[in-house]
Symmetry: C2
Subunit: 175 residues, 2 copies
């Protein structure tokens, strides 16, 4: 590491690089997608830890609250972040301990809990979000506007395809 990079050739072996050239089209596509996401995600994770001593799940939860500018229920958070409801319970608890969010019981429905950012939480999130956006901007800096637009479009098509052919197909199986 300190020595000036003689072994660079081996450094970039990853899930995808390890794919053999005989793999099929969609499998290679999926591996590339997964590798890219994993790379970015782990950089962000590391950045949040080093720069703010926090974690990605906590950041994501705060981001959801910040975006809506209004309290969300535990169930709302679970659906938006696409994680289990039990998961939200734990992450929220830690954010409450840190004083970044508060939970309040609904008057109308005693089962429901509303979660919202505290003033400290909002300030802290905005600090983190600014840095987060810089990282993301750096990540995609080499893409032209046209390329980014095209990529957005193709990812959108892929997402629709997944919902139609994978998710809806499974859900409709034997019912």
């Amino acid at each position: 590491m300190a020595a000036g990079g003689a072994e660079r050739a081996e450094q970039f072996i990853d899930h995808e690089t390890a794919a053999s050239p005989t793999d099929h089209r969609d499998l290679r596509l999926w591996l590339r997608l997964l590798t890219l996401t994993t790379l970015v995600e782990s950089e962000i994770r590391g950045g949040l830890r080093v720069a703010f001593d926090t974690t990605l799940p906590r950041f994501d939860l705060m981001a959801a609250l910040h975006k809506t500018k209004a309290p969300l229920t535990m169930g709302d958070l679970s659906r938006r972040l696409m994680v289990s409801n039990g998961n939200i319970t734990g992450v929220t608890e830690r954010l409450v301990e840190e004083g970044l969010v508060v939970r309040t019981r609904s008057k109308e429905d005693k089962r429901t809990q509303y979660v919202e950012l505290t003033a400290a939480g909002r300030t802290e999130f905005e600090r983190m979000a600014a840095r987060h956006e810089q990282w993301i901007a750096a990540a995609f800096a080499d893409l032209s506007d046209a390329e980014a637009t095209k990529l957005m479009e193709l990812l959108g098509k892929a997402k629709a395809s997944v919902r139609r052919n994978l998710i809806a197909a499974r859900e409709g199986q034997t019912q």
Copy 2:
């Protein structure tokens, strides 16, 4: 769930759908990428659990071994799967318990452990891989060849951009 889907309109709120239209280009791109990956990954996770009573990390580890058709060290696996080395220890242990892989110490270097599929592991993996490929093919079924090719290309560019502008930039920071 048993009742026939009256609340479908609310069902597809996700991390990305929740994004406001004023977000910046790269942030929206990143959210879409993340959402797509998460959707596919959680379908595969569920499929592996239901159909084969196994998990994605175990499948991935076996896939790495199957692809190389040769034993890999713990470190090789850690680098290829882009996870920490401690992680590989745990996943490998469970696969050994299940009789799907074996670990053997190297004669030349007593620190090194080689991991390889057992006959049972190879057979089981091939069963799972066939199904896995069907899921992936279904996921991207609505993309034409031209679209898939373009998407591959753009993801490749994005990956290069991430390595150059995010990862290498961080690594070179103050050294």
